[in-house]
Amino acid sequence: MAEQRALHEPFHEAERQEEADRLGMLVFLGSEAMLFGGIFAVAMALRLLHPQDYIAASSQMKLWHGTLNTAVLLTSSLMAALAVEAARGGSPRWAGRALWSAVALGLLFLGIKGHEYWLEYREGAIPGLANAHVGSAFEQLFMNLYCAATGLHALHLIGGMVLLAIAALKRSAREDRQAVLIGNVALYWHLVDLVWVFLYPTLYLAGAGQ
């Protein structure tokens, strides 16, 4: 009964269909990696053009918010991995719990990020808003990059949370011993995590020693 995965066109075998789903997700992740690659290319160019200014601007970041968020997101990735193991081990209930905790940690991440944005807004550090009064021109440029990068990441995070919630709500996904859907959703969540793991040093740690 647990093996009731729907076989859909054009596949004849469940195994082949699973491989195709996994490959499809991996190819999509490759595409997503290139999307954020553009952001990292911009960060690299700005740092090469203005090495000192970049470090100075980065030192204005809220380091503790960023560090805490890194820990939160890494933990939520662990939860997603545990959900896959639980589904494979035949305990759908634990798979569901692990998925919901990953979603909860994602929400916590957004909460911390929101608090950070709010503090920056009060300081007038968010560019483009009426009260913005950033020190140097480069600091404003850095904040533009920061907003674009973390904003794009947050959108992906929200998308990942929706996917996690869908997997958690679908009984058939939790009961699937091959963890096809949960496995692919977890892969996506790991990418969201991984992008942050690179954004954190790029934006926060670059100026942390100052």
């Binding site: 491989e19 290139m34 674009a148």
Partner: protein
């Protein structure tokens, strides 16, 4: 799982044999279809529509250029006309043209599969394309943009007029359609090949679509993020390219061309795949050097990612970077040349059938060689400084994109028309159209090489009187070319009603798509095909198979 499998097998016999065109007549059966063949038809109609819109913009440009004075369009109007021409032709015609119509239709047939790996995703990508296309039409109706198709900053972010953000978002959205199609092709080619269909037995059309899918998936997201950054700067004022803050507009160009040069290979690689099929079928011969042609596609895809800097030789990038980009741009010509030599060698001593598809293929070779060799000239630093941003460049890339891709598109349309529709077209008219297109094309664009070499800059509609003769020749050629493109519209549509019924294999070609009926049944094959030999195993043992079906 078992229940689903039985369900498929239980379908009555006649359903298995009914052609995909007769498997339902309602609008719903078309607009909610997941059949890759029907989705290909949806794409064929929509890209033809955008080809026509882009063509109207081109006609306005060529009419305005008939005289040295700005008669027809204002300066602003001219800028908007060439911007729309570029944007629509690149993203709404050329990039989806061959992959989304013929690739969609043929890849499952060629590898012996029932459909693409993700049929619903395939339909979704069409809807995304249509949504992006409607946004672009809204831009056209709203007056257009004057950014050029390249959206250079800070022109686009600070100074350009018109519906810039909407255009940028439309192109951004169309990228998702491209990425999903590429993803679908890659997974399909990996996971749905018929028993016996090894990588070494894949038709070269499939190889080139595999290469193009890699570019779809890896290059398009870079354009996406770049356009997002442009839109963010224009909408919210958070620009990362803003020179007044210390940002680097050249950075935009790097990111843009990192996508847009591979995009040229997106346009030409599928055309090369079409060529390999047309040539082998017309020569009734095994392709010369199968693995060279197959790996040349991958080599073009890989090296194509490393040549973007040749668009920026005069933008102030480091001379050392320019030298490396120049070398790599010369290197990427090698795999393209390998293909041309191998097609020619395939024709040598072949049993040649000089039909319309081969005429289009020969036209492709002539125009592609001319476009490719002038590309080598442009890849050289010294010459590029002389002809940069002149009509020489315009002529060069039109030889590749229009002379190459559009000619191959028409070749493919004729070659697979019997398979797609089940009807034969009028061969004589098709040959006349092929020759008209070749002559019209050269008359349009060859004078532009001369114009550019003599100093006529791109994107200007006022020019010295000594250039008028060449401009008039070019505009006259454009008229002939438009006539050539319109001809198939009439005789192909006519063939739908009056054309003779097509047999399964009208050309005596190898390839799995010719083993099923014309048009194919909904599930492509009545029995699962098993492949026992390579894709171009000529001569066929039974040439009489032409009449079979």
């Amino acid at each position: 799982m078992i229940a689903a499998a039985i369900d498929v097998e239980r379908e009555p016999e006649d359903v298995e044999h009914t052609s995909y065109l007769r498997a339902g007549y309602s609008l719903r059966s078309w607009f909610f279809t997941t059949d890759h063949k029907r989705i290909a038809i949806l794409y064929l109609f929509s890209i033809s529509f955008f080809f026509a819109i882009g063509g109207v913009a081109a006609a306005l440009i060529r009419l305005d250029l008939l005289t040295p004075a700005p008669d027809l369009l204002s300066n602003e109007g001219y800028n908007r006309a060439f911007s729309l021409h570029g944007i629509i032709m690149v993203w709404f015609f050329l990039i989806p043209s061959i992959p989304n119509t013929f690739g969609n239709f043929l890849i499952p047939l060629m590898i012996g599969a029932r459909d693409l790996a993700f049929p619903r995703l395939n339909l979704l990508s069409w809807y995304i394309y249509i949504f992006a296309g409607l946004l672009t039409l809204a831009v056209v109706l709203g007056g257009g943009v004057d950014t050029g198709w390249t959206f250079y900053t800070p022109l686009t972010t600070m100074y350009a007029n018109g519906m810039v953000v909407m255009t940028v978002i439309a192109v951004f959205i169309s990228g998702f359609s491209t990425i999903l199609t590429g993803l679908n092709f890659i997974v399909t080619i990996h996971k749905l090949r018929a028993p016996g269909m090894t990588w070494g037995r894949l038709p070269l059309f499939v190889w080139s679509h595999y290469a193009v899918s890699l570019i779809f998936v890896l290059a398009t997201p870079v354009l996406a993020v770049t356009l997002l950054l442009v839109a963010a700067e224009r909408l919210f004022g958070i620009g990362v390219f803003d020179p007044s803050l210390g940002g680097d507009p050249l950075l935009f160009q790097h990111l843009f061309w990192f996508y847009s040069h591979p995009a040229v290979y997106i346009m030409v690689l599928p055309a090369m795949g079409v060529m390999s099929e047309l040539i082998t079928s017309a020569a009734h011969k095994q392709i010369f050097g199968y693995w060279f042609v197959a790996f040349a596609s991958l080599a073009i895809a890989v090296i194509g990612f490393l040549v973007w800097g040749h668009h920026m030789f005069v933008s102030g990038q480091s001379i050392y970077a320019s030298a490396v980009f120049s070398f790599l741009s010369l290197a990427v010509a090698v795999p393209s040349a390998i293909k041309v030599y191998n097609w020619t060698a395939t024709l040598y001593k072949g049993d040649i059938d000089l039909s319309a598809p081969l005429l289009f293929a020969m036209g492709f070779i002539v125009l592609f060689v001319a476009g490719g060799l002038t590309g080598l000239m442009l890849a050289m630093l010294a010459i590029d400084v002389h002809v940069h941003d002149t009509y020489f460049v315009v002529a060069h890339f039109h030889y590749i994109m229009v002379g190459g891709t559009v000619t191959a598109f028409f070749g493919a349309l004729h070659y697979w028309w019997p398979k797609i529709t089940g009807r034969m077209y009028h061969e004589g008219l098709a040959r006349i159209a092929a020759i008209t297109i070749l002559v019209g094309f050269n008359l349009t664009f060859f004078p532009q090489f001369v114009l550019g070499y003599r100093g006529m800059p791109r994107r200007y509609h006022v020019y010295p009187e000594e250039f008028q003769v060449l401009h008039v020749l070019s505009s006259a050629g454009a008229g002939l070319l438009a006539f050539g493109y319109l001809m198939p519209l009439f005789y192909l549509v006519w063939s739908l009603f009056r054309g003779s019924l097509a047999p399964a294999n009208p050309w005596g070609a190898t390839g799995l798509e010719w083993t099923t009926s014309s048009p194919p049944p909904k599930h492509n094959f009545t029995e699962q095909p098993v492949v026992e030999r390579g894709p171009y195993h000529y001569p066929l043992k039974h040439p009489a198979s032409r009449g079979h079906g």
